[in-house]
Amino acid sequence: MQILAVSIDSPQDSKRFIRQLADNYPGEFDFPLLQDRQHRVIDRYGILNPRSPGWPHPATYVVDRNGRVRWRFVETNYRVRASNEQILNALRQLP
C-alpha cells in the first residue's frame, strides 16, 4: 500500500510540515508530499474549493491495483475528516 499526499504547498512548506510531523509522530515518515502548485490535479479530480486560493476540499481516495476508486471520502466541511479506521477498513476490502 502506498500513501500519496497532495496539496498546493511549496517544497519548503512541505518539508517544514514533514519536520513537524516527524517531531510529533516519531517513526518512519515514508510517503511523498506531492506539489500540485497550480492545483491542476485538484481541478482534475473536481475537488477545488472555489472560495480558497486553490486548496482542495479534503478528500481521500482508496485506489486498487487496477487504478479504480474503491472507496472515497470527500467533505466540504474541513473539520470533518475520514478516520484512519475508515481508511483501513476500505483497504481491507481490496483483493
Binding site: 500500500m1 502506498q2 500513501i3 500519496l4 499526499a5 497532495v6 496539496s7 498546493i8 504547498d9 517544497p11 512548506d13 512541505s14 518539508k15 517544514r16 510540515f17 514533514i18 511523498p32 508530499l33 506531492l34 506539489q35 500540485d36 497550480q38 492545483h39 491542476r40 490535479v41 485538484i42 481541478d43 482534475r44 479530480y45 473536481g46 475537488i47 477545488l48 474549493n49 472555489p50 480558497s52 486548496w55 482542495p56 476540499h57 479534503p58 478528500a59 481521500t60 481516495y61 482508496v62 485506489v63 486498487d64 491495483r65 487496477n66 487504478g67 479504480r68 476508486v69 474503491r70 472507496w71 472515497r72 470527500v74 466540504t76 474541513y78 481508511i87 483497504l91 481490496l94
Partner: protein
C-alpha cells in the same frame, strides 16, 4: 570509371548534408525529449470544471497524474498499477 560521377556529386553536397544531419538530429532530440518524461499535472482532462465533487466516484478510474515530491522526484499515479493499492489524500496544507 563508373564511380567518378558519384565522387563529384558528393563533393558538391557537403554543406547540404551537414544541414540535413543537423535537422535530423534536432528532430530526433525533440522526439525523445517529448516522449521521455511524463508532463507534470493531470494526464488528461485539463478543460474540465474544477468543481465537480462526484466526478471521481467509486468504481471509476482514478485520473492519472505526475507530480513532484518535496525533493523534486516525479511520482506518477499509474506507476503503482499491478503493484500497490494507493491511498490518495488531498489536504489543505499550510496555513
Amino acid at each position: 570509371m563508373i564511380w567518378e560521377p558519384a565522387a563529384v556529386k558528393f563533393r558538391f553536397i557537403g554543406m547540404e548534408k551537414q544541414t540535413l544531419l543537423i535537422t535530423i538530429f534536432s528532430f530526433v532530440l525533440l522526439f525523445f525529449s517529448s516522449t521521455g518524461q511524463a508532463q507534470l499535472g493531470p494526464a488528461d482532462g485539463e478543460s474540465l470544471d474544477p468543481v465537480d465533487l462526484n466526478r471521481v466516484a467509486v468504481g471509476s478510474l482514478a485520473p492519472d497524474f505526475t507530480l513532484e515530491d518535496s525533493d523534486g522526484k516525479r511520482v506518477t499515479l499509474s506507476s503503482f498499477r499491478n503493484a500497490k493499492s494507493v491511498v490518495l489524500v488531498f489536504y489543505r496544507g499550510h496555513w
